[in-house]
Symmetry: C2
Subunit: 346 residues, 2 copies
DNA sequence: TTGAAAGCGCTACCAT
DNA sequence: ATGGTAGCGCTTTCAA
């Protein structure tokens, strides 16, 4: 059986309280007492029981991180940073995946309320049916991603602006027939123009909708036609599938604006298979500047932002909320920039 | 303040024990009693306190997952599967990163002993200085990766055989000057042949050493020269850096056997920049069959294994150990196979 | 500066 | 089938 504070106290000839004092090192303990306790601590190979401590203190020292799909390189980058930067603050990270079933978000929020985690960083797939919008007392939550709400704190990049910047870049490069890969899918059950009961029923992440909006806006400014290529799966494979179908039925566009670098990788692969050169026959742009995107052939023009600052901001906001649940929610917008590489003619 | 079992019991007019019975649904409760309790449960919006439950039961319902570097696509795939498959067993996943500092492994093992996690899946960087080899009682641990020990259970692929298979494939394809990217680095402080005090002092992961061994063995069988390109950083960037340097000083090899697909992506990019065609001027092979490797240009020949079976086996073994700490450690070897794609001439 | 005792919320045991 | 009670290991009053 593992040693408890009582055992240590007995061996050191002191009370449990003194042992606790030594461990937590907050109040002053006489050096010789401290020495005796520390001796006992190592002798018994004492490790504190976190469940007990958590029960007593009401805090677990862990935060939750919920991302739609852990498989995406983008998720890996976020996870990597959250784990690293949370560790610096002494927080452990519990990780979750939400895309498979939307009800997972509810599960998570309630898990946050079960004291298993002290706070939650949540990347909601879709705000409409996101659990944060439900009534009821929320645990400390920070949203990552560009969604329109003011219930909880959030950190984001300006997706509309970024998409506009990228679309402008493509227009400036001289491309005219510019297609977007990853625009929200219109559900097959709805009518042709995607409207049900007067409300647009688009399926897709918040980011996807905002990027599509920026793309449309700039094309409209220039009097250019929009060419939306919707996805059924948000992965290189998904992009490859719809793009191959598109190329079978249409002339290749001048340029493809893919709403993530992962999608762009699928697109690059399909263009290559079709014998089309990049950017000669068709340029390709991505979004996110994942680590891999500078190693594609050719390297990928993309939207970059300081991911470390992004995650650091999320943790700052979370710490704020954990300390004071009543603080007013804050929004932090992380700046973005276009990284020009060979895939769009640089 | 949040509702507790007591509050629920009072509202439902029953005892706390009955509430607990309803929640855990193990013993039979009279339907009308159950109904009253469930009514109270929802009315008070009851959520159990996991710290209390953990303290009482001695289990937290969480497992730890420790990987060297969460940034790697391979890590993302493992994480994705562990989270998904652990969820099916009702386990949460706490995630950690160990490569930065080796002492993290010790931290983790002791964390496992603090009841924060009930078990640990550990991918050790290097067994020599891995914490599992230290004396002392271990928590439930399963190693993933091919390391030579019999202290704890482990799941692995046969790295030597896989590397031999791939090297044979390259030889059969007619390549003769076959270089390996990712062989263990010889520390700069040591003498030229990498020996100090009669013992080889190679720096690198266990997998890297085993893959190098398989590669060397097959080349020797065929009387072909080995060409080791060591790495200072285990990333596409790292591979790109050393390979560019190599190409500046040497003729390009006939083929490159990169010890992971990530490294291969860096290599592909460098070959492309150098104006070399793949596989015409230089073939490239990878290892792991990460999702991205079928979308490189050209698609990558690589070593594949059933990752889901791999993770499932790790969880099986972990469950075994968690149930019975005294069970004899088991080893499960997951089969591998070569996936032939265009990068080696298919 | 240190000790004694209470209690965090839950479930197991022993009654009934 | 249900209730009462004790106790998991820790920390935090309150006293000494």
């Amino acid at each position: 059986m593992r040693a408890t504070v009582k055992d240590v106290a007995k061996l050191a000839g002191v009370s449990p309280k003194t042992v606790s004092n030594v461990i937590n090192g907050v109040v002053f303990v006489r050096p010789e007492t401290r020495a005796r306790v520390e001796q006992a601590l190592t002798e018994l190979d004492y490790v504190p029981n976190m469940s007990a401590r958590g029960l007593r203190n009401g805090r677990s020292g862990m935060i939750g991180l919920a991302l739609p799909d852990l498989l995406r390189p983008y998720s890996a980058e976020i996870t990597h940073l959250v784990v690293e930067l949370a560790h610096e603050r002494g927080w452990g990270v519990q990780i979750e995946q939400t895309a498979s079933e939307p009800e997972r978000e509810y599960e998570l929020l309630s898990k946050a309320r079960t004291n298993l985690v002290d706070g939650l960083i949540l990347n909601p797939v879709n705000l409409d049916d996101s659990a944060v919008m439900s009534a009821g007392p929320l645990p400390a939550v920070v949203l990552i991603g560009d969604v329109d709400q003011d219930v909880v704190s959030q950190v984001l990049i300006d997706n509309v602006e970024a998409a506009k910047d990228m679309t402008r870049h493509l227009v400036e490069q001289g491309y005219r027939r510019i297609a977007a890969v990853g625009t929200p899918e219109i559900p097959s059950g709805s009518s042709g123009n995607g409207r049900i009961g007067g409300r647009t029923e688009a399926v897709g992440s918040a980011a996807s909708r905002l990027r599509a909006a920026g793309y449309h806006e700039v094309l409209a400014e220039h009097g250019l036609p929009a060419l939306d290529i919707a996805l059924d799966r948000w992965s290189p494979q998904g992009a490859a599938t719809v793009l191959s179908r598109f190329l079978r039925e249409n002339e290749p566009p001048d340029a493809l604006f893919c709403f993530t670098d992962s999608l762009a990788m699928g697109a690059v692969s399909v263009l290559w298979s079709a014998g089309l050169s990049i950017p000669g026959d068709c340029a390709v742009a991505g979004f996110d500047n994942i680590g891999e995107s500078q190693f594609t052939v050719p390297p990928l023009t993309t939207v970059d932002f300081d991911r470390r600052a992004f995650v650091q901001a999320a943790l700052d906001l979370l710490g704020e909320r954990m300390a004071d649940r009543t603080a007013t929610p804050r929004r932090i917008v992380i700046p973005h920039r276009i990284v020009r590489r060979a895939s769009t003619g640089y």
